[in-house]
């Protein structure tokens, strides 16, 4: 253990990185399937089935990244885990109910008697919507240091809307990739509408964060940090511009470039995420508790780390397998 220097230093950092990674993967992956759920009522009946078919084989595994992220928070930073989750007690509960409503709807909507199908469709939509909104709300509260005032709640309400728009956007780009015909055209239209929301949302969070926290302000606007950070907004801006251009020309005749919006959106998410991670480091509870103060005992972290080194590549491997098996345009889901 001593090989790499003081484990009390690098272990918490490693786990913070792992937790960040699983949050990022979660936001991208469940982001697109939640987004598809949010867009659900905008489509025709038959299209709705196709939308569900495009995420059916994936949603469960996508949500598992949330379980992993919360698991790492719980195992690596137990004190932070309690503080954050009790502070967010109500939104967490609401989010869980959203996840329940949408998760079971996948099954019930095709298995229950036909007359109940509209009800389960509604539950799928509302569940996805509640989940996205509450996650955005929690993100806002977290940025605001988990303090409950009228101002922070207003801010959180705004991030709630923006995150939902962002999810719908990545969901629309997923549909562009996975569908064809009229539905694909619609998805392009939805993405065109959503892109402005994404720009506004990124802008709002980037502008507000440094002004609510002096610490973040200093981290951004001092030399040389400001130059090192400059690529983040520049690249994001560039990608968004490309996206905007691409959306005006999609779908192409032979469906080339259908993958582009989805991949580009992922990179915007990644860049935004890095900006966020940079601003918060080293805190796990903003302005209250650093990852070093909150970390569990090194022996315990070490035993998890060993397992992670073996298992994480395997997880990534078979996740890739699943996405390969179900590559191409979404087809009808059937057990046969």
């Amino acid at each position: 253990m001593e090989l790499f220097g003081d484990p009390a230093q690098w272990l918490p950092l490693t786990f913070a990185a792992l937790m960040g990674l699983s949050i990022l993967i979660y936001v991208v992956l469940d982001g697109f399937d939640l987004g598809v759920g949010v867009l659900f009522p905008l489509a025709e009946k038959a299209e709705q089935d196709r939308m569900v078919a495009s995420i059916g084989p994936f949603w469960d595994a996508n949500e598992t990244w949330l379980v992993l992220a919360i698991g790492i928070l719980l195992v690596a930073f137990p004190t932070a885990h309690g503080t954050i989750l009790t502070a967010l007690y109500l939104p967490v509960t609401l989010m869980l109910m959203g996840l329940i409503l949408r998760g079971v709807a996948f099954e019930f909507r095709v298995k229950a008697p036909d007359k109940w199908k509209p009800l389960w469709d509604k539950s799928f939509w509302i569940g996805s919507l509640i989940t996205s909104l509450t996650q955005g709300y929690m993100l806002g509260m977290y940025i605001m240091g988990l303090e409950v005032t009228l101002f922070t709640q207003a801010f959180a309400a705004i991030t709630a809307v923006f995150l939902t728009v962002a999810y719908s956007f990545i969901g629309a780009t997923w549909l562009i990739l996975k569908t064809e015909g009229a539905l694909q055209l619609k998805a392009v239209k939805w993405a065109k509408g959503g892109i402005w929301g994404v720009v506004l949302g990124l802008g709002a969070v980037s502008i507000t964060s440094p002004f609510v926290s002096d610490r973040i302000f200093d981290k951004w606007f001092s030399v040389p940090e400001i130059f090192l950070l400059a690529p983040l907004p520049l690249f994001s801006g560039l990608i968004v511009a490309l996206l905007w251009y691409a959306l005006r020309h999609l779908p192409t005749k032979n469906d080339s470039w259908a993958w582009f919006p989805f991949v580009a959106t992922i990179s915007v998410f990644v860049l935004g995420f890095f900006g966020m991670a940079y601003s918060f480091y080293p805190y796990v509870v903003p302005e209250q508790l650093t990852i070093y103060e909150a970390a569990s005992a090194p022996e315990s972290l070490f035993i998890i780390l060993i397992g992670t080194l073996f298992v994480l590549p395997m997880i990534l491997g078979y996740t890739a397998l699943a996405y390969t098996v179900f590559r191409g345009k979404a087809t009808a889901l059937s057990y046969e």
Binding site: A46, E47, D49, R50, V52, A53, G56, P57, F58, D60, A61, E63, T64, L66, V67, I70, G71, L73, L74, V75, A76, P78, T79, H81, G82, L85, T86, Y89, V92, T93, M97, L99, I100, G103, V104, F106, E107, F108, V110, K111, A112, S296, A297, E299, S300, I303, I304, G307, V311, I315, Y318, L321, A322, V325, F326, A332, L333, S334, Y335, E336
Partner: protein, 461 residues
């Protein structure tokens, strides 16, 4: 009601709801693998039909298990922050290994198992089915390691009020783990055995005379008949193990107040904690001494040993433990009766399903959910029997409680209970709906969920 009691009810409600579905998926995964392999070996369509029907129940149960499981993983933080702060060094790695080695495995391969049948080669589909079954079993393994450790903690030391791991082997193979794991896996097998038998009996009563139903009815009853004696044996051994490590729990299960010899096996009573005695007791003389100590004059510990000098009670609440234990045993005895009677009647003069009288088939339908009853009763015995401890001898439930206002917990509890009631109702009725549909010989395949294909399917139905 205060935050403590509300949080306990909420946790109990959530985990009780969750466990219903893993109990089914753990064993049903293996059963599906068996159906598939039988089809591969015999080429007989009936196995494939059985597979097609039960994979739907599996998919539905799995989704319910996943969503309620996600709820569980947040419960520790929202309601029991003290738990992770005190024993997080031990509970944490165990939960992490569960996520990494079990949840991802089952969640990823579930997609291939359910929807990949015509997309991947046969061997890969069989492998996916195997990995899903294996993954659910691994989930059960890790969570039961943790739960058993909470009952019989080992391999750790306390430093500044926080548990630190000293020996992972001792933590994982803690004294009650093997017993609890075996008993739980058997419980899952029994739950599925009776679910299959009960639903098949229902289809039979709906005049479904397909080879598939004959086979699954016989399969369910035979599996039940094989597993129940093992379960009774495992339960007995589990009890002896508990006697060694948590005598106060066994005393509550037996409803035995005084430490003494020749303790009767109490069949029925109403334990009265005020008077510290049983009312209306009916018992078999020397029974408990015989079971627990294997001799009539064996000395069995009593509840009064667990009252401190100043009168504080250090044993669990007696009545709930006492009654839930009897519900579990009673259900087990009913399972023994039905499965053996069923197998004997079917074998007699090779009568097959026709050899089973109608009354018994009718009775088998509610038995479809007997596994749930026994499992829940068993868990209530175990968990309430551990109180007031959360981790036996290390921390009490009270020490783990979150600082959340009671009305907030009350409102979320109410919301959970409502959702769970609706979902449970929907789940059971959809299973019977699917069974009824299959019995009428309607196409067993689920509506494919896609544009044009839906139109065709609707036309076909």
């Amino acid at each position: 009601m205060d935050t403590l009691i509300l949080s306990r009810i909420q946790f109990g409600a959530n985990i009780s709801f969750h466990i219903l579905f893993p109990t089914i998926t753990i064993a049903l995964g293996w059963v599906l693998l068996f159906f598939k392999l039988r089809f591969g070996a015999t080429g007989d369509e009936k196995w494939m039909n059985a597979y097609r029907f039960w994979i739907k129940v599996f998919a539905l149960s799995f989704a319910m298990g996943v969503v309620s499981g996600i709820t569980m993983s947040f419960q520790f933080g929202t309601n029991w922050p003290g738990f992770m702060e005190t024993v997080g060094n031990i509970a944490g790695p165990l939960l992490a290994y569960e996520v990494m080695t079990a949840f991802f495995l089952e969640a990823v391969f579930l997609g291939i198992m359910l929807f990949g049948f015509s997309k991947v080669p046969g061997w890969l589909h069989t492998l996916a089915t195997f990995l899903v079954a294996f993954g659910t079993t691994m989930s059960a393994f890790w969570i039961l390691v943790l739960n058993s450790w909470m009952h019989t903690p080992a391999g750790f030391e306390m430093r500044d009020g926080v548990a630190h791991a000293t020996d992972w082997f001792a933590i994982i193979f803690n004294p009650s783990m093997p017993y609890r794991l075996v008993h739980m896996l058997l419980a899952s097998g029994l739950t599925v055995a009776f679910l299959i038998a009960g639903i098949s009996a229902f289809r039979w009563l709906m005049r479904d005379r397909s080879e598939e139903v004959r086979t699954t009815l016989r399969f369910g009853l035979t599996l039940g008949a094989l597993l129940i004696p093992l379960q009774i044996l495992a339960g007995d051994m589990h009890g002896l193990n508990t006697l060694e490590h948590q005598p106060q729990k066994v005393a509550a299960m037996e409803g035995n107040w005084e430490t003494r010899s020749n303790v009767p096996l109490v069949l029925f009573a109403i334990p009265d904690e005020e008077a510290r005695e049983n009312r209306f007791e009916i018992g078999i003389p020397n029974g408990a001494s015989l079971i627990l100590k294997h001799k009539a004059e064996g000395i069995v510990p009593g509840l009064n040993d667990f009252v401190a000098e100043d009168g504080t009670v250090q044993h669990p609440p007696v009545a709930p433990v006492f009654f839930s234990f009897r519900i579990m045993i009673g259900t087990g005895v009913a399972m023994l009766f039905f499965s053996w009677a069923g197998v004997v009647l079917m074998r007699r003069r090779r009568a097959g399903v026709e050899g089973i009288p109608k009354m018994m088939l009718i009775a088998l339908v509610p038995m479809a959910f007997s596994g749930w009853l026994a499992t829940l009763a068993g868990w209530y015995t175990t968990e309430i029997g551990r109180q007031p401890w959360l981790v036996q001898g290390v921390m009490t439930t009270k020490q783990a409680i979150a600082d959340v206002p009671a009305p907030m917990v009350a409102s979320t509890l109410f919301a959970y209970l409502t959702i769970y009631a609706v979902l449970l109702g929907a789940y059971i009725s959809v299973i019977f709906y699917l069974a009824g549909k299959a019995a009428k010989g309607e196409p067993v395949s689920v509506r494919p969920s896609a544009g044009q294909a839906t139109a065709n399917a609707v036309a076909a139905e």
